[in-house]
């Protein structure tokens, strides 16, 4: 029997909807939940980061503990031994700087792994068809995805770095770390924020350009490491160290050195090759401009691709 269809005039929707739902937060949170749903990658990617943070905390704690012991030590030999170990451990700012240098690599791995699928997966599955049939604008969609990337970057770089600062604050006698070296905390936050903003924008832009997560992942690593290699070659060939500005890694390294007034522990191959030692090879403003330009271009690409997603399945 054929179905009969009604002929009445349609009725208006009578339910209640939030006039401005927190789309960014909902998208961001959903992205994080999906990232942590797969346990093995989470374990592999976050464990090194956690271990590095733990080691950093222990080193900072040991340093303050030894400083206290040195002050209390009576024998000359004991004092010398404690000072020797202290020197080996380095001061707190150096420890945090060293930690950030190492942690950047793990943060990049995590951000690239999870971030590369954020938009690419939507493109592959055509989930954008469902998103844009809802009250979601492209900008809010991008912000939602960006929130996930920011959170992932924060979890792997900012949070562990702040844990070490926290440890230093509590281990230092009479809160001396907070009184005398609070600049380390602000600069740590500043550097981590800069790194996360630049890298998450870049990773998202790359993700928006591909339908396959694997391709986006490869492209991210190629852009970071291949460009680093190419800039090294150009510097070698031309003898002009300013070409180092092309490399993301070099720019972050230059900024971190400038912020912490400390030479890098693993001094860059580029500078060693140039015999520049720990001196910045270019004006630090150049690095900020370069990173700003990369972020701007990333957002242009991101916006263009997401706008296209709105109209192309």
């Amino acid at each position: 029997m054929k179905a009969t269809t009604h002929t009445e005039i349609y009725r208006r929707y009578g339910g209640e909807l939030r006039s401005r739902p927190a789309v960014e937060r909902i998208l961001g949170w959903a992205g994080l939940r999906m990232a942590f749903r797969r346990k093995l990658p989470a374990l592999i990617l976050f464990t090194p980061s956690a271990i590095t943070a733990l080691v950093g905390c222990v080193m900072v704690h040991l340093r303050f503990m030894l400083a206290e012991r040195t002050a209390e030590a009576e024998g000359r030999a004991a004092t010398l031994a404690a000072r020797g170990i202290q020197e080996l451990l380095g001061d707190t700012a150096e420890n945090i700087h060293r930690f950030i240098q190492t942690e950047q690599f793990f943060a990049l791995l995590t951000l690239a792994w999870y971030g590369s699928h954020l938009i690419a997966e939507d493109r592959r599955l055509s989930a954008n068809l469902l998103y844009f049939a809802r009250p979601i604008t492209p900008l809010r969609y991008i912000l939602g995805k960006w929130l996930t990337a920011l959170a992932l970057g924060g979890l792997t770089l900012m949070v562990p770095a702040l844990m070490i600062c926290w440890q230093a604050a509590f281990s230092s006698p009479d809160w001396i770390f907070l009184k005398e070296s609070s600049w380390v905390i602000w600069r740590t936050i500043g550097f981590c924020a800069l790194w996360i903003v630049v890298m998450s924008s870049l990773v998202l832009a790359i993700s928006s350009a591909f339908q396959r997560k694997g391709l986006a992942l490869m492209c991210t690593f190629a852009l970071v490491f291949l460009v680093q290699g190419i800039s090294l070659v150009i510097v070698q060939v031309t003898g002009n160290p300013n070409y180092g500005l092309l490399s993301l890694i070099e720019n972050f390294q230059a900024i971190s050195e400038w912020l912490f007034h400390k030479p890098n522990i693993g001094t860059s191959i580029l500078r060693q090759a140039q015999g520049l030692g720990h001196q910045p090879a270019w004006n630090i403003e150049g690095s900020f401009w370069t990173l700003g330009l990369i972020t701007f271009l990333s957002w242009v690409v991101l916006w263009r691709n997401v706008k296209r997603m709105e109209v192309i399945a």
Binding site: T7, Y10, R12, L17, L125, A127, L129
Partner: protein, 306 residues
Amino acid sequence: MNALIEAHNLGKWYGEVIGLSDLSVNFAPGITGLLGPNGAGKSTFMRIIVGELKPSRGELKVLDMTPFANRKLYPYLGFAPQQDALYESMTGYGFVRHLLRLGGFTRSDASARAKRAMEQVGLQDAMNRPCKGYSKGMRQRTRLAQAIAHDPELLVLDEPLTGLDPVARRQIMELFRSLAEAGKSLIVSSHVLHEVQSLTDSIVLLHRGRLLAQGTVGDIRSLLSSHPREVALSARKARELAVALVARPHVQRVELVDDENLVVRTRQLDALYEELPGMVQNLQPGLRSMKSSDANLESVFDFLVQ
């Protein structure tokens, strides 16, 4: 206003490729079948209706509103695309709830609605399983669930019956009927005529981005009454059957393919179907199969575009 959707000279092209061309059509409330072969422009038209695509020319009003990028229209529209669109790691329930939250529903309301929608499409037992373990039919039903979950007035469903097994197909058709009885309007696209025919009489035929025909199935079928149709028969005594068939006035031609297969060309398919059982009873030709090779929608289009 009686028309849910009014399109005037609607056109959409992607560079040099024409998606829709000069389409003027009205959709009345109720279930409407949007039919056409692959590449006819059904999906393009549906995406224009839900406001995801901007028409290149012409005008479209959906529920009296211009749909393109009109987020105010969302509460009234439910859209199920034919693309997969499901996140593998999310549960079906979680996915529907996630989309409801994005639509502006509160946490508790979204949970209740998602659960109800999953029950409506018959996925209550599997709703807490990740989508990666879902069959094609279950994915299809999850997409339907997200379309109906916010109780929209107009459902735009792109190939909603594709990939469903017969039982699920029947369930979903029943769901469509119940939604229509509850006062909802549905636009269901398909390239299979009989699927849509069992749901509604009202159909819109598209072909190469143009409106080919609109009306009831009967009206459109009557257009085909003078169109000769071919039926392939397979029988043990094909030659004897061919002799009997060729004597019928409505039969134009009988082609004996081999000793057991023949093709009959007739101007009155219904008459052939009425007479064939009697012939089979009298002659006992050992009829094994009967297939109308051009009874599908594609042949209807072929005829209409001639």
